[in-house]
Each structure stands twice: as C-alpha cells, then as structure tokens.
C-alpha cells in the first residue's frame, strides 16, 4: 500500500538517482533487524508481544506495550487515512468533501475489524493477488519509457546521504508488527520466521521494483517532486490511440489496498488496547477508536502538514516497530527470562 503512496518519491529524496540503492540498503537493514527481533520470539515461542512484555517486564510492561503499539498505529491510521482521502480528492473526486471520502475508509475498517481477524485475512488473501496483478500491469505498462541512464550518476546524492538518511527508513517495515500479534496463531517459531522473512522479501521486492521503475521512467530531479509516483506512472500507459487513460482502472485497486491497510492498522489499535489492558473483548473499542482516528486525521491543516507528519512517522516508526521488541529482548537476556534454546512444540 505504501508503494501506492509517496514511498518511491521519499527514496528519491534520499538517494536522488540512486534511490534504488537506498531501497536495497533499507531492505538489507530490514532483514538484519528482523533477525534480531525474531530472537525474542525464539525465546518465547507461542507468545505474542503482550504476553512477552508481561513475562519480561511484568504487568506494567504489558500495558506499556499495548499503549505504544496502539498509539503508534493510531498515528499511522490518522496520517494514511488523511493522505489517501486527499489523494482521492486530488485525482478522482475533486468536488467531494474530504470527510465523505474518509468516512468510507473508516466505515470499511470498522466493518472488517468487527468481523474479526480471520475475515480480514481472508479478504486480504482474495484482493492482494488482484492488487499485485494491477501493480505489475503498471510497472510493465510503462516499459516503453524505461531509460536506465536515469539512474546515473550511480551513487546519486552520495553514500553518506544514502547510508545516513536510509537507516530511519526501516520504519517502512513496521507493518510487520502485525506478526508480533499473530505469533501464537502461527504455532511454531519456524513458522514465525518463515512468514516474517517471506513478508519482508515480498515487501522489499515491491518497494525496490517500484522505486527502480519510478527512477528509470521519471528523471531526477522531477522525480523528487512528483506526487503519487505510481499514479503518475499509470497516467503514462497507453497502447495505440485506443487504449488510454488506464489510470481510472487502477483506482479500485488503490482503494482496496488502502482499505485493507487501514483495516489491519485499525485492528492493531483495538487488539493492542484489548491485550494491553486485559479486556475480554475489543468490540466496544471499535467505534470510539474509529471516531478518534477520524478526528485525528483532520488535525493537519493541509496535505503539506500531513506530509510533515508522515516524515515523523516514517522516521521514528522504527522505535515501536523494532526498538520495542529489541528492548524486550535485552530485558529478557538481562533478567534471564524465556529460553534461548527453546523449541516450540510441533504444530
């Protein structure tokens, strides 16, 4: 989903013509960081992050983890909700009130979270392949515009910028924190590891290909100012004089991707509050959380302010996403909690 927003442009702002290199660097970092995080779940097989928090840092740890993850995801929802509503308003429905567009996303999130995690995952399983096909059509559809000289000079804005500014971009992968919640459902540590690496591998594939396609189609420095890069690419697709303006076909794909992303983030908020505070059900939380997320998304005065907030979210997101489990791992090691060699029972 982040690929459909301004992610490729953000890599261009870091690496210039070497945006793809910045994406590859961040991808490598994401694997390293996940390897460290997975050591925590190796020590505590079949436990989610809240239970691990309780075991390593007591009840306070559990509550803090619940609050941090819920707060972070709520912040993410408010930004993504606003951003995608603004995008829709800019490119498809310029006259519709922003609140109307945001309402549809929030309603879809409320319904899906109300129906539960299984429904959410099944819906994702149905639509993600469709979204993927749409993505490939865009990437291959613009192939006549590929010009590989556009990734030259090879080091773009320089190694210092790429390595320095690229590091906080591992925040892009914080969506993987859904795995911290799902750990008990995955039964074994091996499954957790496998799902984690596959998720990161696929995410990295989409991130790197989207950044590369964007940089070889739109030359630098224009690429650093292009709003909605993948949409900009889709506007270039045409086959002869009869197959044109295909970007409208991709709108449902983007809306679906946004709805799924928001629903999952919404689930994380409600689930984190429920687990953090040991509540019996998260259903009573859904409507209040929806109203808070909706309200927060309208705090920014403009899309430019939202972009600023997004930079904060993309820069510091690694703290709740990766910093928190690494901190728990350190506490567990110091306090000798969990079993370093523990093997989970077969599924």
């Amino acid at each position: 989903m982040q690929v459909f927003l301004n992610l490729p442009m953000q890599f261009v702002q870091i690496g210039g013509t070497a945006a793809w290199l910045a994406a590859v660097y961040t991808a490598i970092l994401s694997f390293i960081v996940f390897f460290i995080v997975s050591q925590l779940f190796k020590r505590f097989p079949n436990k989610d992050i809240y239970e691990i928090g309780k075991e390593t840092a007591g009840k306070a740890g559990q509550i803090i983890i619940g609050i941090v993850l819920a707060g972070y995801s709520l912040f993410a929802i408010s930004i993504i909700l606003r951003e995608f509503s603004e995008d829709l308003k800019t490119i498809v429905m310029p006259l519709s009130p922003l609140s109307l567009l945001a309402t549809f996303f929030i309603i879809s999130a409320v319904i899906s979270v109300n129906l539960g995690l299984e429904t959410l995952l099944r819906v994702s399983a149905v639509f993600v392949p469709i979204i993927t096909v749409g993505y490939f059509i865009i990437i291959f559809g613009v192939s006549p515009y590929y010009d590989f000289t556009r990734i030259m000079p090879i080091l773009g804005s320089g190694l210092t910028d790429i390595l320095g500014q690229g590091f906080p971009r591992i925040s892009l992968y914080t969506a993987i924190l859904i795995l911290y919640l799902l750990a008990p459902f995955l039964k074994t540590y091996d499954n957790f590891k496998k799902v984690g690496y596959w998720t990161l591998g696929l995410s990295n594939f989409f991130i790197i290909t989207s950044v590369l396609a964007f940089t070889i189609v739109i030359p630098y420095p224009t690429s650093s100012e292009t709003y909605l890069p993948i949409y900009a690419l889709s506007r270039l697709i045409h086959v002869g004089r009869f197959f044109d303006r295909v970007e409208s076909v991709f709108m449902p794909i983007w809306v679906l991707a946004a709805a799924i992303y928001l629903s999952i983030a919404f689930f994380v908020v409600c689930y984190s509050i429920m687990k953090g505070f040991d509540l019996p059900s998260m259903k009573p939380l859904i409507i209040p959380v929806a109203i808070i997320a909706f309200t927060l998304s309208f705090i920014s005065q403009s899309i430019f302010e939202t972009f600023k907030s997004e930079v904060i979210f993309r820069t510091w997101g690694m703290i709740p996403g990766f910093g928190l489990p690494i901190l728990l791992l350190l506490i567990a090691i110091i306090r000798k909690k969990g079993s370093p060699q523990s093997k989970s029972p077969p599924a």
């Binding site: 210039g16 310029p94 519709s96 000079p153 320089g158 030359p219 630098y220 224009t222 270039l236 045409h238």
Partner: protein, 428 residues
C-alpha cells in the same frame, strides 16, 4: 431488524458511492482539443481554445470539416480566443459565454508561440503539469506565427475528427524525419534536467504560396532546395491546408533560443536515437547536376560515448543506417556493387558533414544539448553533486564531436539494374 439495517446501509452506500458530488455528464462538457498560448496585449496571456463540436464529429454525409463554419457547412470544432492572467483562470472566463464546462482530459496539443516561448515558459508548463486534467502526454508545439493564427488555420481535410488529425499529424516525424515528437511531460522533465535540454515540434502557417523561395538551401551551397531545406511555414505549396510542421524548436532551459530546419532535424533525431526513416535527396556523386533519392532507415540504435579530457567533453557518436534506392535521375547503374560503394561513401560523408554542421549549430550557436548527450556523460560521475558541479550545459558548447556513420544500401526497389534511354542519337 438486523437485515433491514444492513439493507438500509447498502442502499445508502449505493447512492453515495456513485460519486454524485463529482458527476460531470458527458453531454454537459465542452471538449478542448487544442490550446494555444500567446503573449497577451491587455493581460498576461492570449489563450486560444479549439473545442470539439461532438454532434458534427459523427462522419455524416454533409461533408463537414473543421476550421470553423465554412460556406454554411457545420464545423467539427469552434475556436475561441480570450485574454487571461493565466491558463486555469481562463477556463472560467470561457465558461462565461460557453454553456458547457470545459474538459481538458482529451486535449491533444498545446501550442506556444515563439514570441512567448522566448520569455521562458516553465511557469506555464508547470501550471499544466499541476492540473490533473491535462494529459501529460499531449504534444508540445512551438509556432513561428501566433498560436492563435496557427490553431485557426487548422483545417484537417482528410479527417472528420480533429483529435485524430493531431495524433497523426504530429506523429508524422517517425516517417518524415523532419519533426521531433515531444510531450508536455518531456518538456517539463527536460527544463529541469541537467543532462538534456527541451525541444519541440516547429509549426507555422504557410502564407508563401508555390512561388516561395524561402529555404535554407543557399546556406548549404545548393542551387535548388532539397525536401527538408525548409523551416515550417516556408514549404512552397498551394493548398487549402495552411498549417504545417517542419523543423525543431530549440530551448535552453525554459527559453526558446532557435530553430532547426527539416534536414538538421534529421541529424538531431539521429543523434538522440529517435530517428525512424525518411526519404532523402542527395546530389549524384558522378553527375553533379543530377539527384538521387534514397529511403534512409535506422539500422541500429545510435551509440554515444563521452570522454572528458582536461574538462572538455569528447563526444563519439556511431550512427548505423541502411538505405533503399528510390530513384536515380542520371540513370547511372548504381546497382553495380562497385558503383554502389561510390554512392555509399558519398552518402556517408554527406550525412557525417550534415551531422557535424547541426551539432555545431546546437553546441556553439544555441548552446543547447537537445540530443541528451549529457546522459552518456553523467555515467562518468559518481554522484549527482559532482555531475552538477561539472556544469554540463556550459561544457557542452566547448565539446568536440567525432561521428562515425555506417551506411549501406540494401535494396533498390523493383529495379535491379538501370539502363539509359535510347534515342535517335544513341544512348542518352
């Protein structure tokens, strides 16, 4: 009760999700086909809109054509010119007297006058890029006359649909080689690019007539002009189609700085690898007052290598072409492999000289790398900063050119040997 609530929600969604807020009925819109931009007299801009009249686009039997109402025939489009402070506000001004909301999603071309382009047009191009309704793929054209005059002179005799006319007309460079094809997005990208400058189709209105002697032949020491020795608007002709395109408008940054004629456009397109095919005329190497016509076709992509020696770029270009004989006026048997070599060598040298001449015009006179040789040069730099510091735009004017042309004639049409005519005085 639950089912009733769900049903009510679904009905609400069905109604609200049809995007009624943004509904724009097809029948309520005015489709702008082309936009012309000139310097205004009382306002910043003079803008000309060519708006389609859909009911006349159906290809009915009334023989309707474009170009405004002519001789009582219904026109396929209407031309409107207004003075406005900027492009976007002009839409509302037009809506003050046109009953339909202007729609720009189907605009095929934007035409800017040379006069306006000389002042720099980045702000206008950016205004169009920012507006989602403008197609970034629409053709960018520079007119030697005012854009208004050019648009009003468009009278597509062979097309009922003017949009198709623009598509076909502006794409003709791929088989004539005398005009480039650049879009609004190309212009925008290149205006801010550090490795390539913008160029555009050069258009004009022909008022010269058949007796016109405006050509660039004299500059090339030719007694008579060849087919591409013209700028747009100078082609000697008698026609009801006064609008024409030939040549290239050259930009330096966002400012128009000069023109290339049709033949120089061949060389420009060869240099930037956008040449397809064209029919060229050459002097006969063995009969100086006779002509030979060849179809010159790109055989392989043009290879460009740049080396930088003591801060001076040395550009090495390798052009690979093949040709088909179309006509040999002298009747010389160039189909003979020995004589064919003579012709090939001559053509080779001719193209090489022409290419260097065009390069010198662009690098020394206009100081504009519209070829995009900078794209090959920037490979030599590790970072963007070092590339920017090199200042390619400035160094390009000091660069040296080495060009290698590899030209071979492959075919001779349906004749494989030329015989002279036989008269009462023997063989001519």
């Amino acid at each position: 009760m639950k089912k009733v609530i769900i049903l009510l929600i679904l009905i609400t969604f069905c109604v609200s999700l049809t995007a009624c807020y943004d509904a724009r009925e097809v029948d309520d819109l005015a489709y702008v086909i082309a936009i012309g931009l000139d310097k205004g007299k009382n306002s910043s801009l003079k803008i000309t809109f060519q708006i389609a009249i859909p009911k006349n686009l159906g290809g009915g039997g009334d023989g309707s054509q474009g170009g405004g109402s002519q001789g009582g025939k219904s026109s396929a489009f209407e031309n409107i010119t207004i003075e406005a402070p900027a492009i976007n506000p002009s839409f509302d001004m037009v809506n003050a007297f046109v009953g339909r909301d202007l729609l720009l999603s189907h605009t095929k071309a934007v035409i800017v006058s040379e006069e306006l382009a000389k002042e720099g047009i980045l702000h206008l191009v950016r205004e169009m890029i920012r507006n989602r309704e403008f197609r970034r793929k629409m053709t960018f054209v520079v007119s030697r006359t005012t854009a208004e005059e050019y648009i009003r002179s468009i009278n597509p005799a062979l097309e009922i649909n003017p949009a198709k006319y623009y598509d076909l007309h502006y794409n003709s460079g791929r088989y004539t080689g005398t005009s480039p094809y650049l879009t609004l997005l190309n212009m925008y990208n290149r205006m801010m690019s550090a490795d390539r400058q913008p160029a555009a189709i050069l258009a004009s209105v022909n008022k010269s007539g058949l007796e016109s002697n405006k050509s660039t032949a004299e500059n090339k020491n030719r007694n008579t002009p060849f087919e591409a020795d013209f700028y747009s608007g100078d082609i000697p002709k008698k026609s009801s189609l006064p609008a024409e395109i030939m040549g290239t408008a050259v930009f330096d940054g966002s400012k128009f700085v000069g023109e290339l004629d049709g033949e120089s456009t061949y060389h420009y397109l060869l240099g930037c690898n956008e040449y397809g095919r064209a029919v060229w005329t050459f002097n006969d190497p063995l009969h100086s007052n006779q002509k030979i016509n060849l179809t010159v076709i790109k055989n392989r992509d043009t290879q460009v290598r740049v080396k930088i020696l003591n801060g001076i770029p040395n550009i090495n270009v390798s052009i690979d072409l093949e040709g088909d004989i179309i006509s040999i006026h002298s009747g010389e048997n160039y189909e003979d492999p020995e004589k064919l070599k003579v012709l090939e060598n001559y053509v080779n040298q001719h193209i090489k000289n022409g290419f260097i001449n065009t390069f010198n015009i662009l690098s020394k006179k206009y100081k504009s790398d519209i070829y995009g040789f900078g794209r090959s040069a920037k490979v030599l730099f590790p970072t963007w900063k070092s590339w920017e510091n090199f200042n390619w735009e400035k160094r390009f004017s000091q660069s040296n050119m080495n060009v290698k042309v590899n030209f071979h004639i492959r075919r001779g049409g349906l004749i494989i040997k030329s015989h002279p005519a036989v008269s009462s005085e023997g063989k001519e």
